[in-house]
Symmetry: C2
Subunit: 340 residues, 2 copies
DNA sequence: GTAGCTTGCGCAAACGTTTTTGCAATATTG
DNA sequence: CAATATTGCAAAAACGTTTGCGCAAGCTAC
């Protein structure tokens, strides 16, 4: 079998003894074709192993069936899980997922948006990022490419999905306050991004409810490299009076914090309580296990896909929608009362 | 600015007062065009914000500049890290990455291969998978779509990259043997996949060197769901005589094992030693920290991309290449001598 | 038995590029 | 200055689809 070159619809048409137009209509069961030729064409296609060329279809139909997804870090499990779920749902609907990693650099983000645009993605899902590539996005939007943001406000009126980081931080802080903590150190992801800002707001709000002022020296919102966070944790513990609890409000903050505390020989929760955001193997299985405020990654990915599909479905009204994902507190062993 | 519809090369040509053929040649600096018109066309393009349509280019040039990547689990950090690195390198070379998640189901894998094929990906990177969709792959290969396998042999003569799982398991086992362990329980990922097979082979080899026979009741190679692994760990510890060491040779085995051991109140390393494969936050920061045999994820992703790019570069000889990624043992606190 | 309606299908245009070909106009050569 | 080589560009073909249009044949109805 000299299967060397791909078969085109031309080959199918020839094999079935019809014109290519008819072959196309037969394969897509569209327009007026007799049942007899539908069968002839279908058989010919099967025999030849014909599959329509998606590129040519895209060109003609002006739809690539590809969704682009942009995140700051593909390997962050909190993105990876979301991507996985989104891919699954989109695949069901016949879409493929093109991924891009921005490393939180606005330049790379811009380049990727451009790339996706040139590639004519049918839609774009964007994770949080400091960069303001708003003009590029608006241009896409104007060209009928729906954009859904994930923990990110993307300009004017785009759809978005937001984890309720504010409430998460609020609940977490309240939990610690209820245990009697007053000096709660906050290690957060960058306050330039929406999640970071929201978290700090939630923290502040909970403090304010009890009449406490947030103290700037207790808040560290920077990069999340592990070593850096470890040294921040140490520096926080050397304050006098030292904080009695740590709130690590960034998905990658926990590891560094634990490392820092361990280096200093501090025990959890006797010497200091720890509460983190985002559930991981580490939080679950650390000794002691770490209490956490978390949310459903699968749900996030699924809803992102759903939001996108709804925007893509012309029959629906394409009104942008905003979805808030709730969080829940899981109590474990890492929080106690200060001085207990 | 009524930027409503995308600009095509036709608009650029019109604006520059030349034919579209000339515009194309000017923009690509190819063929015979005068410097003057190059400038005129370039300016017109810039003013209009023109960007060539990648779909049309793909159709004409028969190259999509897209690489497909198929893994069993996008959210497994050991794949996510690799994907991240691969995407980075491929992006540098102008390629975009289309991802697919197989969930280890051969059916989904087949569907995705088909999808990628229809989408005309320029190359395919495939992670380990139990399924034998070899005919599909050979068909791709015959159509000049290079395939590079990651921890997977993909049929006849494709390029491949392999982490040295056999040696990893061998070294790990030897390490435990040197400490005096004789009953070493093995929790491995499925033996149907290449990594699992190799690991068991390495384990067996190390045992054989010391004149030990591998005991079937000490080897569990199944699914890696956390609860299942935990119960397996418990069942292993209830053997008499009980194993004195655990070798968890699957990237997701450690969590379940630790959970199982903890449920039983067993101390590491006093009651049982634990050695795992693949470094994670959990292994690093668990108390006690867990010794591990690991490798460089970034390197894997980078080399996969590199391998692919080399196959795609027609100027190179396209000879398939095989790369072995070395592993190294990191000693931590989780391994001691039995009965010590 | 003819007018009109329906059916099935071929033809050709279109999607947005790149590349080949051909043809003038200009430049080079003896 | 005539013959020839070179240059710059327009026109058209091609990539693989889908789809609007028109035409012939068969059917219904008066």
């Amino acid at each position: 079998m000299t299967n060397r070159s791909r078969k085109t619809i031309k080959d199918v048409a020839a094999a079935a003894g019809v014109s290519i137009g008819t072959a196309s209509r037969a394969l897509n069961r569209r327009g007026r074709v007799s049942e007899a030729t539908v069968i002839r064409v279908t058989n010919a296609a099967k025999k030849l192993g014909y599959q329509p060329d998606a590129i040519a279809q895209s060109l003609r139909l002006k739809s690539t069936m590809v969704i682009g997804m942009l995140v700051t870090d593909l390997s962050n499990p909190f993105f990876a899980g979301v991507i996985r779920a989104a891919e699954k749902r989109l695949q069901q609907a016949g879409y493929a997922l093109l991924v891009g990693n921005t490393d939180n650099e606005s330049e790379r983000e811009g380049a990727l948006i451009d790339l996706f645009r040139r590639r004519r993605v049918d839609g774009l899902i964007m994770g949080p990022c400091a960069a303001e590539n708003v003009p590029l996005l608006e241009d896409l939007d104007q060209n009928d490419v729906p954009i859904v943001g994930y923990d990110r406000d993307v300009g004017s009126d785009q759809s978005g999905l937001h984890v309720d980081h504010r409430r998460a931080a609020y609940e977490a802080t309240r939990h610690l306050l209820n245990l009697g903590h007053e000096r709660i150190a906050l290690l957060s992801s960058s306050s330039k991004l929406s999640p970071g800002r929201e978290r700090i707001a939630g923290y502040t709000e909970a403090l304010a409810e009890r009449g406490f002022e947030p103290r700037d020296d207790l808040i560290r919102a920077h990069k999340s490299s592990m070593d850096f966070v470890a040294s921040e944790a140490l520096s926080l513990m050397s304050l006098r009076p030292a904080p009695t609890a740590f709130l690590t409000l960034g998905t990658r903050m926990l590891a560094g914090t634990l490392q820092g505390l361990r280096q200093n020989g501090l025990r959890i929760p006797q010497d200091v309580s720890v509460l983190t955001v985002g559930d991981t193997d580490l939080a679950r299985l650390h000794a002691p296990s770490i209490s956490t405020v978390t949310w459903d990654l699968e749900l996030v990915g699924q809803m992102l896909a759903e939001l996108m599909l709804r925007r893509l479905d012309k029959s629906e009204d394409g009104a942008p929608q905003r979805i808030i994902i709730p969080t829940q507190l899981i109590e474990r062993e890492s929080c106690g009362s200060p001085g207990a």
